[in-house]
């Protein structure tokens, strides 16, 4: 007989393999529970994956819209993104001896109206590029696949990239079509097709520079100079030289970010937050399940320890099980996430088409999109099962063969109450000070509640117990005792439900606050009688407007009293993107009422006409770090200019953007923009609005990029659409209830299993089936009330904190107590608990007395 170790170092794999087999079989042996626990991971992963699939595509699309024509050595654009006089720039470029050739372009990407020429097929967005046919070939050579290139002095001709025909098959050499321009429709003929460098690029329509300047109402202006360097020239050095010579008003090889990006990011941050919350709940559920698993299996585990398994090996068996569930849940979650992303895409597309154009989006299958869920999902499962696994490893073999003492749990409950109570107290203090820490306070509040939960179980079961007893008689007492017996388990179950209920209350509170704000803004914004809107409002990067003749024609209509127009430009200040709206100072206040946060209308408008003043949106001010009265420098086509913040104010079209309102005079002077992108019309008193609308519409026949609406109807529709869009938030909040429901089901099922013998005893001494059923249902109800009550409290606190935090980005919203939301959340929480109790209650009632008594 040998006493030497027989450990085979090469045999570690055998142990791991056997542990994995064992884990798989244990999991397979409890299919329902495994499914429920796995689902906990599925939801979070699905959300994360879909966000990562959709987000880069959206960002990419916005960035793409900024892409220039060609892949030359150096592109020079204006910092403000506006047009400029080519002469001084070309002068600098031509003087540089490393430059071989340079050409000025005027290009603009814009959205085609829905009722465009049939020959344009499914094209939704194009880039019109004006080039000088005589010069462009020296810098960039178009590879013609068909037809010919433009000839100098030619007008009304266009060459198109051959990829255009994918979307517009009818468009061939010789086709004639009419195209929307700032001055109305113009006719063009296709004379040739070229092969584009990248098939993914936005479809390009190359026209002569003068045609482009006419179409965009930018006579003798360009917005890009493309430069070709001599062979062997040092790109970086030349770029530096040129930059120095041109000064800060010009950017080399850099595309300004669009102002819509931040608001996309905010939306996706919200989604990611929900995903994180769902995963957090998933972790809870896994933690709870594995704690139970360890208790349930303590005999098996004790035996393994007795026959020589080390602590580490025991810990490993449980971890392997957690990991398997994590991987399984992740894979299923990713499939679900893909479907969700596809649905989300079509949802965003239809919503986005309404408010702001974002083009055709694609799901982006990038490495991050896959890596994040693949890492996070299994990791969450692993972390959540770690503590139960460690506890399993720490069991002495004997402990495992004996029942567990409950003394330690009580002790822990007291500490959790103290620690959680402290967190909640700090959180409330943070939220009441109304500082920027309010958001952190809100999160801390939830954390505190979760920590305090084990300590709250006992008082809560005493508090709500009589209520349950009222309904369930003596069985209610038993239920109360059963809940209080496992405070840890009841706490986790209650916490899961709490987070679900809190999300609903939070969404309800925030939606009602936002809708109130939205309604106020809408009333001010749509104060005119008729509005003429471009295809995209709020973001004007891709909008093609109209020259002044349209406004003039409308003003001439007999019923029209006032026409006020908006003009748009994009620029940067201190490197950050800023949208500019040019308003007509003489008429703006007749058609629209801004909501002033700081400053007042009279002074602000007086200041706008007096000099370079800007009314900045509160969000913009907080993003850019500007205060009322500050001077700030913005990049313009004429170089940097100093503007003064004359007020902080917003309307519905600007409130979620970084926007400044300036006078149209300043916009024309600094940005060379005189194109109207939005028109607001007031009618003479007593005029027939519908008749006036059709008159306006008939004038718009030559401007398919615009549509006319009765302002009130449009505002109502918009509010309605927004309201229905908020349903999505409720749906996501409700999704969070799913893991909560699973948690309840899990806990109740386990409680019944664990008490099988006890239930047999109750039946043996004369308890009826229905009494047993009522006992379990009472337990479910008590857990439901416990979780829902904590949830309502947390939901109110969190939403209060978040709404307080919003005032720091300039959205002052009064907190309205979401009474309906609270009642709904309470009812949903309790109903969820009761329905989760149905199955366990039934199986408890169905137990065979003899077998239950002998249950091991």
């Amino acid at each position: 007989m040998t006493t030497q170790s027989t450990t085979h170092t090469h045999g570690r794999g055998a142990t791991t393999w056997q542990m994995t087999v064992m884990a798989l079989r244990y999991l397979g042996g409890r299919k329902l529970r495994t499914t429920l626990t796995t689902l906990a991971i599925v939801f979070g992963v699905a959300l994360i994956f879909s966000v990562n699939l959709v987000l880069p595509g959206m960002r990419e699309l916005f960035n793409q819209s900024m892409t220039t024509v060609t892949g030359t050595d150096v592109s020079i654009t204006n910092v403000a993104g506006g047009t400029f006089d080519p002469a001084p720039v070309m002068d600098v470029v031509d003087r540089n001896e490393d430059v071989q050739a340079a050409v000025g372009l005027l290009y603009r990407q814009f959205v085609l109206p829905d009722d465009k020429s049939d020959v344009l097929g499914d094209l939704s967005q194009i880039q019109i590029v004006g080039v000088d046919p005589a010069l462009v070939d020296g810098v960039y050579h178009f590879v013609m696949s068909e037809g010919r290139f433009l000839e100098p002095g030619e007008s009304g001709s266009v060459i198109i990239s051959s990829s255009v025909t994918d979307l517009a098959p009818q468009l061939q050499v010789g086709s004639t079509f009419s195209l929307t321009t700032v001055g109305g429709l113009k006719t063009f003929t296709v004379v040739g097709m070229y092969t584009p460098e990248s098939p993914l690029a936005v479809p390009q329509f190359i026209v002569s520079l003068s045609d482009a300047q006419a179409a965009l109402d930018q006579p003798s202006m360009i917005n890009t100079v493309e430069v070709l360097l001599k062979p062997g020239a040092d790109h970086d050095a030349v770029t530096k030289e040129l930059q120095q010579a041109l000064g800060g008003s010009y950017t080399l090889d850099d595309r300004a970010a669009t102002s819509a990006l931040p608001s996309i990011d905010v939306g996706f941050a919200m989604m990611s937050l929900f995903a994180a919350l769902a995963l957090f709940l998933g972790a809870f559920l896994i933690f709870n399940t594995f704690r139970t698993v360890v208790l349930e299996r303590r005999r098996d585990l004790g035996m393994l320890r007795a026959i020589g398994a080390t602590r580490q090996q025991i810990t490993q068996t449980i971890l392997v099980e957690g990991l398997i569930q994590g991987i399984l849940g992740t894979l299923i979650g990713m499939v679900l996430g893909y479907l969700l992303a596809a649905a989300l895409l079509s949802g965003i597309q239809s919503l986005a088409d309404y408010v702001t154009f974002v083009g055709d989006m694609k799901l982006s299958f990038n490495v991050t999109a896959f890596a994040v869920p693949l890492i996070v999902g299994p990791l969450v499962a692993l972390v959540a099962s770690y503590w139960p696994a460690r506890a399993a490893g720490r069991m002495s073999p004997l402990e495992a063969l004996r029942p567990v003492p409950a003394a330690g749990l009580r002790h822990a409950a007291r500490w959790s109450l103290i620690a959680g109570g402290l967190c909640v107290a700090v959180a409330v203090a943070l939220m009441l000070t109304g500082s920027k820490g309010a958001t952190f306070g809100a999160v801390l509040f939830m954390g505190g509640m979760v920590i305090a939960a084990p300590g709250l179980v006992l008082p809560a079961s005493r508090l709500f117990g009589p209520l349950v007893t009222l309904w369930f008689n003596r069985e209610g007492d038993l239920a109360q005792g059963n809940v209080a017996r496992q405070p840890g388990r009841a706490a986790i179950t209650g916490s899961t439900l709490m987070i679900g209920v809190a999300s609903i209350v939070m969404v309800a509170a925030m939606v009602s606050a936002f809708m109130d704000l939205g309604q106020d803004l809408t009333d001010g914004t749509f104060a005119s009688d008729i509005m003429i809107l471009p295809q995209s409002i709020a973001v004007y990067d891709n909008v093609l407007g109209a020259d002044q003749s349209l406004a003039g024609d409308i003003q001439a209509l007999p019923d029209v009293e006032t026409v006020s127009t908006l003009r748009a430009a994009a620029t940067t200040t201190d490197g950050a993107p800023l949208s500019l709206l040019g308003i007509d100072l003489s008429t703006f206040r007749d058609v629209e009422t801004l909501m002033f946060e700081e400053g007042n209308a009279d002074d602000a408008f007086a200041a706008l006409s007096a000099g370079r003043g800007a009314i900045v949106t509160p969000l913009g001010a907080s993003t850019l770090g500007l205060k009322y009265g500050d001077d700030f420098v913005i990049e313009t086509a004429e170089g940097p200019q100093t503007y003064k913040v004359v007020a902080l104010a917003q309307d519905l079209l600007t409130f979620k953007t970084t926007t400044a309102l300036i006078s149209q005079e300043n916009m024309a002077a600094d940005f060379h923009k005189s194109e109207d992108v939005l028109l607001m019309i007031n009618l003479t008193p007593g005029a027939d609005k519908d008749a006036a609308l059709s008159e306006v519409e008939s004038l718009l026949a030559g401007y398919p990029q615009f549509t006319a609406h009765l302002s009130k109807d449009y505002a109502d529709t918009m509010m309605e659409t927004t309201r229905s869009a908020t349903v999505m938030f409720y749906i996501i909040a409700a999704l969070i209830l799913i893991p909560a429901g699973l948690g309840l089901l899990n806990t109740l099922t386990i409680n019944v299993l664990e008490r099988t013998r006890e239930i047999g005893m109750i039946r043996a001494v004369g308890g009826s089936r229905s009494q047993v059923r009522r006992m379990v249902t009472g337990e479910a109800l008590l857990l439901g009330i416990f979780g829902a009550a904590m949830g309502v409290l947390t939901g109110v606190a969190i939403s209060y904190g978040f709404i307080a935090a919003f005032s720091f980005i300039g959205w002052d919203m009064p907190y309205t107590f979401p009474v309906a939301g609270i009642i709904a959340a309470l009812i949903i929480g309790i109903l969820l608990a009761l329905s989760a109790g149905i199955m366990p209650a039934r199986s408890a009632a169905k137990l065979d007395i003899i077998r239950a008594l002998q249950y091991e």
Partner: protein, 246 residues
């Protein structure tokens, strides 16, 4: 040569004011190859003694040696290693892993020790053959009778060829026929392999197979009886009741 030895072994529960002694100053020596039965009334400390000998529990005071190793000096991993290499356990409630087949259950101590799986399973088949369970290797515990499960548990206890097998009421959950089969198998094992067997039982018919019976009462050794396998169940029963009533 003593393979197991205790010195003033004491296990105390309860408060310092009102201590309850599960074991009180027990000195015991077990020779290599000996078949020892531990008997005594309920609460006399039989199982506690067995658990302490097997390193499943730690004594309040006193020492246990298994071969040359003093258990209190071993860390948890070393103790685990000792259990899977030098000790074998058989429990009253079989304690087989329900999701593993009979042969996988038997192979477990080897697998835990890092023996490659095919080798471990082959040796498990051999061990199952010794307990006449060769044809049931692929069955799960739930598909086996109580007697069959206990034979699987015995095979598992023997597979690492431990020097000492510790059995806690191994027949406590079996009918009389299975019980007889089991104890005969235990006896044969000792005779054939020279392993040491320490068995806790309250059944005189089982104890009758032992070389030596130690009677415990209130945590102390009340009697130590060397039968050399010659005792009769009736004689043992008389002695047990005498100890209990003393």
């Amino acid at each position: 040569m003593n393979i197991v030895r205790t010195e003033s072994l004491t296990k105390k529960y309860g408060t310092p004011d009102q201590p309850i002694y599960a074991l009180n100053d027990v000195n015991l020596e077990v020779a290599e190859g000996e078949f020892l039965a531990i008997m005594g009334p309920s609460g006399s400390g039989k199982s506690t003694l067995l658990y302490l000998l097997g390193g499943l529990d730690r004594p309040t005071s006193g020492k246990v040696w298994v071969r040359d190793a003093e258990l209190s000096k071993l860390g948890d991993d070393a103790l685990s290693h000792l259990r899977r290499t030098a000790l074998g356990f058989v429990f009253q409630f079989f304690n087989l892993v329900p999701v593993l087949t009979a042969r996988e259950n038997v192979a477990m101590p080897l697998i835990l020790d890092g023996v490659p799986r095919p080798e471990a399973l082959a040796r498990a088949d051999d061990a199952l053959a010794l307990v006449n369970m060769a044809d049931r290797g692929t069955h799960r515990p739930s598909e086996l009778s109580g007697g069959q499960q206990q034979r699987v548990a015995l095979a598992r206890a023997m597979i690492a060829r431990p020097a000492v097998v510790l059995a806690d009421e191994p027949t406590g959950n079996l009918d009389s026929r299975s019980s007889d089969e089991m104890v005969q198998m235990l006896r044969q094992t000792v005779d054939a392999s020279g392993q040491t067997m320490i068995l806790v039982t309250h059944d005189p018919r089982v104890a009758a197979y032992a070389d030596r019976i130690v009677f415990l009462k209130d945590g102390k050794i009340a009697d130590d009886n060397r039968l050399k396998g010659q005792g009769s169940p009736d004689q043992i029963r008389d002695q047990l009741s005498k100890v209990a009533l003393a």
